[in-house]
């Protein structure tokens, strides 16, 4: 009498985990499937949380992700993975359960970077990452301003936009010279600074929050000024949720903690070789840099929504030992803020030069192309999505040849 074969275990019940589980079924995998999520809520999508959910334009349930028909997965919610044992092919959960796997999908995402200082933030200080964070922040914003947002990346700018649209006083604190500077550079950042000024945001650049609110609700900035705030939002970046993999024999980026993987999503072991039975994608994973060149890191965790979607089919194929998809993965991201549609392809941050092709403050349009060594590596548009497809083709033209390899994967349960 033989036991049932071990299932594919997906750790992480967000977009990346759900899409990979779906892709496994799409590709003919008929074996067992276990989906483990550390939050009690069923799978949800993050992008609405910092936009329409905050303003109340849609209820938080609008962020729920549909469960694909025919997924046939055992879902374990409210349990986190705490340890990986690659030799035994098991994952230990925080309730003591040990899950055996034939194949493992690492899709644990990322958490909000916490306050780095010594004091523990009080109730008026918010992080925004999960569904419950959004509900709590929405309730705080309904209580009125002023609001101080620390960090002027995409999340911070979206929160500032939502709070302004609710009529609240908003101070946005940017470490760089402009908002969004590290993501899309100073030219596009200056465009957005002007937009934010028009919208009534009190933008403070070149500074950071130095201390949590004092007893009178005043926040000290590193430039010595103090800003009154009823609600403080710390939008200081994301940290890949990979602590549970420490000691598991896989290669984590020493700086970011992201799990390194190859172009097909296969996790790398400590020697840097891909392992056949573990794939990683989404915000926890760092695939090879999409536009590699001198001075770029070998692997890059971008944390874009599209990355999880675009890599799901490839990760499922790698696990099943099927050939990789032919289409190259070109990163893309978007942000809706201050009534504008920011859309981007490629890796603007990898550029050595930015060219502004269109700048129309009246129609609120912008088109910036990012180049490195004269080659297009990224593009950003504001209210000008029509221009992106052409830039994307240019980026693809400059990509190195897709590596082709057809290793065995876990080779279980795949129907021809």
């Amino acid at each position: 009498m033989s036991a049932a074969p071990d299932p594919v275990v997906v750790i992480g019940a967000g977009l990346a985990g759900l899409r990979t589980a779906d892709a496994l079924r799409e590709q003919g995998y008929t074996g067992g499937l276990v989906l483990v999520g550390d939050e009690p809520d069923p799978p949800y999508d993050r992008p609405p949380l910092s936009k329409d959910v905050l303003t109340g334009r849609v209820p938080v349930s609008a962020a729920d992700l549909p469960i694909p028909a025919g997924l046939d997965a055992r879902t374990v919610l409210g349990r986190a993975a705490v340890r990986l044992d690659r030799a035994a092919r098991t994952v230990l959960l925080n309730d003591g359960t040990e899950l055996r796997y034939a194949g493992l999908v690492v899709a644990t995402g990322a958490g909000a970077a916490p306050w780095p200082g010594p004091r523990t933030p009080g109730p008026g200080v918010h992080l925004l990452r999960g569904r419950r964070d959004a509900v709590a922040l929405r309730a705080a914003l309904l209580g009125g301003g002023p609001v101080l947002v620390a960090g002027a990346g995409f999340l911070g700018c979206e929160v500032a936009s939502a709070a302004r649209s609710m009529g609240l006083e908003v101070t946005l604190v940017a470490r760089g010279g402009t908002p969004l500077e590290s993501a899309v550079g100073a030219r596009a950042g200056a465009f957005m600074a002007a937009v934010q000024a028009d919208a009534g945001v009190d933008l403070r650049t070149g500074t950071a929050v130095a201390a949590l609110p004092d007893r009178r609700g005043r926040v000290l900035l590193s430039d010595g000024t103090r800003v009154a705030a009823r609600t403080v939002v710390l939008a200081l970046g994301a940290r890949p949720a990979t602590d549970w993999l420490r000691g598991g024999g896989l290669l984590l980026d020493p700086k970011t903690g992201a799990l390194l993987c190859d172009s097909r999503g296969r996790a790398l072991d400590l020697r840097g070789d891909p392992v056949p039975d573990i794939v990683a994608l989404g915000d926890a994973a760092a695939p090879p840099h999409p536009c590699p060149g001198p001075g770029t890191p070998s692997h890059l965790a971008l944390g874009h929504w599209s990355g999880a979607v675009d890599r799901a089919a490839g990760a499922a194929a790698a696990l099943l030992g099927a050939p990789p998809p032919r289409e190259p993965v070109v990163p893309s991201f978007w942000s809706d803020q201050f009534g504008l549609r920011l859309r981007s392809v490629g890796v603007p941050g990898a550029a050595d030069r930015a060219e502004v092709r269109e700048h129309d403050p009246v129609r609120r349009r912008l088109e910036v192309v990012y180049l490195r060594g004269g080659r297009t590596v990224g593009a950003l548009t504001v209210n000008r999505t029509s221009r992106l497809a052409g830039h994307r083709r240019e980026i693809v033209r400059g990509l190195p040849g897709q590596e082709v390899s057809t290793d065995s994967g876990i080779g279980v349960g795949r129907q021809p």
Binding site: P47, N383, T385
Partner: protein, 64 residues
């Protein structure tokens, strides 16, 4: 195969244009255009476009 776009949901992400350039495109006034009855050869690209749409605005009906 019939293709539709829910205009109330669409937010001009452009992902459908990337995934299925033979079916979806923008004109120069930022209007999304598409072929509502694409040839069967586009079925894979259309499925990828529907999967890539962040707001699930691409609707596909019928076999290719």
């Amino acid at each position: 195969m019939r293709v539709g776009v829910d205009r109330d949901r669409c937010e001009d992400h452009g992902q459908c244009v990337f995934a299925a350039p033979g079916v979806f495109s923008f004109d120069d006034d930022e209007n999304l255009l598409y072929d509502p009855a694409p040839p069967p050869g586009e079925a894979g690209a259309v499925a990828a476009a529907a999967a890539a749409c962040p707001v699930r605005a691409v609707l596909v009906e019928g076999a290719p």
